[in-house]
Structure formats: structure tokens, C-alpha cells
């Protein structure tokens, strides 16, 4: 292997690690909070569609308008993330119950009335989030492989670097899954909301034509800033609310609805 090829594999490996970490973070976060079936199915569907696209289109894939895709995926992640974070903030500030049997019953009744599936059926939200995130990041990995690889006339080597990156990040995700599952439910949902909003902002803003300073590195600033702002909102609500406060429950198995 020549020096140029080593540099090629390393460059593709690092670039694809970044993309894989982004997709894996979303899948991990959603899986830990909403169960694993739908996120894994969404991931499989995203990878399946990506594989079909790669086989069918090959290098023509680079013609897909990635900016528009980023804008759509980013916008949807923001809608999901804001919904999650808003509820998590209300719960953390004591303004919303962590465990509300009446709301759970009402939701079950509404679900039965409209004929939608039971709560243990396919979670369409979790499926959609993971499907889109994996598809978007997978496309970016494919772009990296095609552009880096074709520049060096060595697409298989670039692909090997990408596969190694994805396998490494997946292995790390499997290892950290256990410790993360012991985090209290509302804390996890709070963190997931922050992550979804951060990734949504990053992708959506780039899709809208703006460039983040530092590109992907900016995520290292966006995530903690969003977390600090959210914690500030909890403190603000605790201070200004006129409602009697509920003692936050620490039961990680509490079912949270509505």
C-alpha cells in the first residue's frame, strides 16, 4: 500500500467516523428512550434503501441534492426534538407529571378509537427518525467514499476505510448502550431532545445554505450550548411557576405519556 493510499484510507476512516457517530447517536438515543425494535427496523430500512440506491445508481448518487435532504431531515429532527425537549423541560420543572395514569388511559382510549396499533406495535416516530438519520448519514458516507476514492482511483480502498469506521462506531455504541440504559427516563429524554435539536439545527442550517463555523466540529459547541439553555429554561420555569411543585420521581421505569 502506497503512502497516498494510507492517507486515503485514514482520511475516509476519520470522515466516516464523524458521519457514523452522528447517525449512531440518534439511533442510540431513540432506542434507549423508546425501545429498540422500531429504531433497529428504521436503521435496517435506511441501510437497505441506501444499498439499493448504491447498486442502482453507483457514482450517479453524487447527483442527489444533499442540501435539500439535509434541510428536510434537519427540519423533522427539530420538530421531534422540540416536542421531546419541551415535555422533558416541563417534567423536570415539576409542571408536568412524570407518571400520569389518567393521561395513559386517555391515550389508550384515543388509540383504540382511531384504530391505530397498540403501544407495543411499530413505533412509527422512532422508525422515521432512525430511518432518515441513517439514510442521510449513509449517503454522506457514500459521497465521501466516491469522491475520495475516485480522486485516488481506488474506490475499494476508500470503501474499506468507511466500513472499518462504521464497524468501530457500531461496536462502541453496543458497549455504551448498557451504562446509558441506567440513566433515569426523563433525564434521558431531556438529553435526547437536546441531541435531536442539535443535529436538526446542524443539518437543517447547512441544508438552508449556511455554513457552520468549523463544519462538523461545531456540533461540539451546539450540543452543550443547547443543553445549558434547556437547563436554564427548567430553572426559569421552576422560579416563575405559580403551581405547587411535584417531587420529581426517579423511577426509571415510569411510563410517560401525553
Amino acid at each position: 500500500m502506497t503512502g497516498a493510499n494510507v492517507v486515503l484510507v485514514l482520511a475516509v476512516f476519520v470522515a466516516c467516523c464523524v458521519e457514523a457517530v452522528e447517525a449512531t447517536t440518534v439511533v442510540l438515543a431513540v432506542g434507549l428512550t423508546r425501545g429498540w425494535r422500531a429504531p433497529l427496523l428504521g436503521t435496517a430500512a435506511g441501510l437497505g434503501l441506501l444499498a439499493v440506491a448504491v447498486v442502482a445508481l453507483g457514482p450517479a448518487l453524487t447527483a442527489i441534492p444533499i442540501g435539500a435532504l439535509r434541510l428536510v431531515v434537519g427540519g423533522l429532527l427539530l420538530v421531534f426534538g422540540l416536542t421531546w425537549l419541551r415535555k422533558a423541560i416541563l417534567r423536570a420543572s415539576g409542571l408536568k407529571a412524570l407518571h400520569d395514569e389518567d393521561a395513559l388511559f386517555a391515550e389508550e382510549r384515543q388509540r383504540a378509537a382511531i384504530g391505530s396499533g397498540p403501544p407495543n406495535g411499530l413505533d412509527a416516530y422512532a422508525f422515521t427518525i432512525c430511518f432518515k438519520s441513517v439514510l442521510l448519514e449513509g449517503l454522506e458516507v457514500v459521497f465521501i467514499v466516491l469522491t475520495f476514492g475516485s480522486n485516488q482511483n481506488s474506490i475499494p480502498l476508500a470503501a474499506a476505510g468507511a466500513v472499518a469506521a462504521v464497524l468501530l462506531v457500531t461496536a462502541v455504541a453496543v458497549v455504551v448502550r448498557g451504562p446509558l440504559s441506567r440513566v433515569p427516563e426523563n433525564s434521558m429524554k431531556f438529553a435526547v431532545g437536546v441531541l435531536l435539536i442539535s443535529f436538526g439545527l446542524f443539518w437543517g442550517t447547512e441544508g438552508a445554505g449556511a455554513q457552520w463555523p468549523g463544519s462538523d466540529v461545531s456540533l461540539l459547541a451546539i450540543i452543550p450550548i443547547m443543553a445549558l439553555i434547556s437547563i436554564g429554561m427548567v430553572m426559569w420555569l421552576r422560579r416563575t411557576s405559580g403551581l405547587p411543585r411535584r417531587r420529581p420521581r426517579t423511577d426509571a421505569r415510569a411510563t410517560v405519556t401525553a
Partner: protein, 88 residues
């Protein structure tokens, strides 16, 4: 018919979320960001500011009635408004 209704409900919830104002704020933020970027103005900060503002506004709307001593549709002891699926 029932399937179409379920799909329609799902899509509406998907695109709108719990509070349509937040979704509208996101659209406006990205539209402004797009317009400014096309004009050559750095607008990477704009959607972030927009998101923080719509989140704060949405929280304010939920909690504001409680300051007058009235329950709101989203607070724990009030009747469930029945809006949206269980997300988050």
C-alpha cells in the same frame, strides 16, 4: 378509509408536533436563513436563535395560565387535551 385516516393523523403529527407554532417557527427560521445565505450574509446562527425563541414561547404559553391560578390543558391535573401522540 380508516387506514388513510391513521396515516393522515400520523403525517400531521409528524410535521406539526405538539405545537404548530414551533413548527411554523422552524420553517420561518430556515426560510430566513436560506434568504440571507443566498444574499451572501452569514446566517448560520439564525435557526438556533429561532429554535430557542419558539421553545421559550411555547413553554411560556403552557405555563402562563397557571400564573392566574387556572389549570392548563397540558399540566398534570387538567383534563387531557388529547392532542398528539406520545412522543418523548
Amino acid at each position: 378509509m380508516r387506514g388513510a385516516r391513521v396515516v393522515g393523523t400520523f403525517l400531521a403529527d409528524l410535521l406539526v408536533g405538539d405545537d404548530w407554532r414551533m413548527s411554523a417557527g422552524i420553517v420561518v427560521s430556515f426560510a430566513l436563513c436560506f434568504a440571507l445565505s443566498r444574499a451572501g450574509i452569514a446566517a448560520w446562527w439564525l435557526p438556533s436563535v429561532g429554535v430557542v425563541l419558539v421553545l421559550a414561547y411555547s413553554l411560556l404559553r403552557v405555563t402562563r395560565p397557571s400564573r392566574r391560578g387556572q389549570p392548563t390543558a397540558e399540566l398534570p391535573d387538567a383534563p387531557d387535551a388529547g392532542s398528539g401522540p406520545s412522543v418523548g
